[in-house]
């Protein structure tokens, strides 16, 4: 047993609707690593999590979690993992304490040990005061925190968290981030986290894979992903999106399709040498008589990388 995840050519096609949710995905996560799966709605994040946590079978490829094949040895895998699915899984008729104790008992803890574990975990997720209340009366954030506590009951070697902070307010989100970082640093827990938030992946993960339409489109450390783009960003805004459209056409003719991305009246241009090319862009547009509202030069954030990568993909698919 080890705290690693090995995934080779994993695919999942849902019979219903013939949806190819995951296509030939390969990656590996080392023991103790904090790994993020970043992607938009419908990218295949949850499907991947469900395969790796033994809930559903893949239709192709293979995966080993904690050193055990997820299809051949699901019972072994389940012992070593903790899972928080996208939807919380709690029984609203039990109290927080009862549910944690039940979970501990199911994992084979003695009665006394289960009670102790509940006390510890309620403290960690700051639910001690609500421990005796029915979960049905908990707020969304409290449920999420309880769900997280449940995933920690068996002191898992590997944690799978499917969008654990979606829908949480900033303070709840911070609390969960802190706890995940603590688990990763102090206990060496391997963490596989999915998110739609780039800042989340950026500030938590050692390594990130970006998934889109069921395929991994980029993998690297946050730094590497930023370097991959290898350039600066010029962001221009215009009075109207007619102007930005015209400007897009003009700049695209000069710089190539993948370097310019338009979002209504905003244009983002990826350039090699920011200071020099900024002037050039302004000169070109000025020459065409297009009025620029604001100009901004920056180095890329993960948001920009994500935008660029998914845009590159679309350009490719449309170009086929």
């Amino acid at each position: 047993m080890n705290g690693s995840i090995e995934v080779k050519n994993l695919s999942k096609t849902f019979k219903k609707g013939n949806v190819k949710a995951v296509r030939d995905v390969s990656f590996s996560v080392k023991e103790g690593e904090f790994f993020a799966f970043l992607g938009p709605n419908g990218a295949g994040k949850s499907t991947t999590v469900q395969i790796l946590t033994t809930l559903i079978n893949a239709t192709g490829g293979e995966a080993a979690v904690a050193g055990h094949d997820v299809i051949r040895e699901p019972e072994k895998v389940r012992r070593y993992i903790g899972v928080a699915l996208q939807e919380t899984g709690v029984d609203p008729d039990l109290t927080g304490r009862e549910l944690i104790e039940l979970q501990a008992n199911i994992f084979g803890f003695s009665k006394d040990r289960a009670k102790e574990r509940a006390v510890e975990l309620l403290e960690i997720v700051q639910l001690t005061e609500s421990a005796e209340r029915r979960i049905g009366n908990y707020s969304g954030g409290m449920r999420r925190r309880l769900d997280l506590a449940l995933t920690l009951v068996n002191e898992p070697k590997i944690l799978f968290l499917d969008e654990p902070t979606t829908g949480l307010d900033p303070s709840n989100r911070m609390a969960i981030w802190k706890e995940l970082q603590r688990l990763n640093e102090e206990k060496g827990t391997t963490i596989f986290l999915t998110t739609q938030y780039l800042e989340e992946a950026d500030s938590l993960a050692h390594r990130i894979s970006i998934i889109n339409h069921g395929e991994i489109v980029a993998t690297g450390t946050p730094k590497e992903l930023k370097a991959q783009i290898g350039s600066d960003l010029v962001t221009l805004t215009f009075i109207s999106d007619i102007d930005s459209g015209t400007a897009e056409d003009i700049l695209k003719r000069q710089m190539g399709a993948s370097e310019v991305i338009r979002q209504s009246e905003k244009l983002t241009v990826y350039v090699k040498d920011g200071a020099k090319q900024l002037l050039e862009i302004v000169r070109i547009l000025d020459g065409e008589g297009i009025e620029i509202e604001t100009v901004n030069l920056s180095s890329p954030t993960l948001d920009d990388i994500f935008l660029k990568i998914t845009n590159d993909q679309e350009v490719e698919t449309h170009g086929e």
């Binding site: 946590t53 033994t54 809930l55 559903i56 079978n57 699901p74 019972e75 389940r78 012992r79 993992i81 899972v83 699915l85 939807e87 919380t88 899984g89 709690v90 029984d91 609203p92 008729d93 039990l94 009862e98 039940l102 979970q103 008992n105 199911i106 994992f107 084979g108 029915r134 449940l150 068996n154």
Partner: protein
């Protein structure tokens, strides 16, 4: 680390029982309906037992099986409702993610439903006694009636759990319980077979397995130990249980399988 299947089953069953008790409205209406059969029909229809076809039997003993079967079916339906609730609020997946025995995960709510059925049936029999019930076969007869109630409830629990696991949807599972009405009412519910006028109802009563359940219960309550009359109920249960439990097992397999 890890439990025996017995421990798992016990843990999950205990939790289902707790959940049921915390939702009294999941069983009180059914209990009221069952008590209603006894109180209202005994009060309102008992006059018809003066008819010669009843051969002097008291109507209370005649209507009691209807009340018991209604309580049993309602109690057993709790199994399916429990499962659907777990699936809908994600707790079923949470259980599947633990090393708990897959069988225990499905069996827990079913056992809890059976227990609910058992207690409801006892309560109804208790009310029967308060109303002056006399049983031809005495205590042994009551045990037989209980056994039939549990058997018939098990058949229905298999059905309701099967529907729940297959549809994973509360509305569908709820709709599935409507089979309760034809099962209870298209039968020798209020009058003996010989007194049913409408030909269609006679046919329905002949097809409806509940008729044989009523008949076998009535035999021990009113007439005594008449082997073949009792056996028809037992046979109906064996056949129904075989079908519904197979259905439940196949549905369960599909629900915990990783398709």
């Amino acid at each position: 680390m890890g439990n025996s299947i017995w421990k798992d089953t016990w843990l999950i069953t205990a939790r289902s029982i707790k959940t049921t008790l915390r939702n009294p409205f999941s069983f009180i209406p059914n209990l009221m309906i069952s008590a209603f059969f006894l109180l209202v029909y005994e009060g309102g229809l008992s006059g018809i037992s003066q008819l010669p076809t009843f051969e002097g039997a008291n109507y209370l003993a005649f209507i009691l099986p209807v009340s018991i079967v209604s309580a049993a079916i309602g109690g057993a339906g709790g199994a399916g409702q429990g499962i659907v609730k777990d699936i809908e609020n994600g707790f079923f997946s949470r259980l599947l993610l633990t090393p708990a025995s897959r069988l225990a995960i499905v069996l827990g709510p079913i056992i809890a439903g059976m227990l609910q059925l058992f207690i409801q049936t006892l309560l109804i029999i208790g009310i029967g006694y308060l109303l002056g019930l006399e049983v031809a076969t005495g205590f042994g007869g009551i045990l037989f009636v209980l056994m039939i109630a549990i058997g018939w409830g098990l058949a229905f629990a298999g059905y309701s759990a099967g529907v729940a696991l297959r549809t994973k949807n509360a509305q569908a599972a709820q709709a599935g319980t409507f089979i309760f009405f034809p099962l209870i009412f298209l039968s020798t519910t209020f009058v003996p077979y010989e007194l049913i006028d409408a030909q269609w109802l006679k046919i329905a009563a002949t097809i409806n397995p509940t008729t044989y359940i009523f008949e076998s219960m009535r035999t021990v309550l009113i007439d005594g130990w008449i082997f073949w009359d009792l056996m028809q109920g037992v046979i109906a249960i064996v056949i129904a249980c075989t079908i519904t439990i197979t259905f439940a097992a196949l549905s369960a397999k599909k629900a915990v399988a990783r398709g």
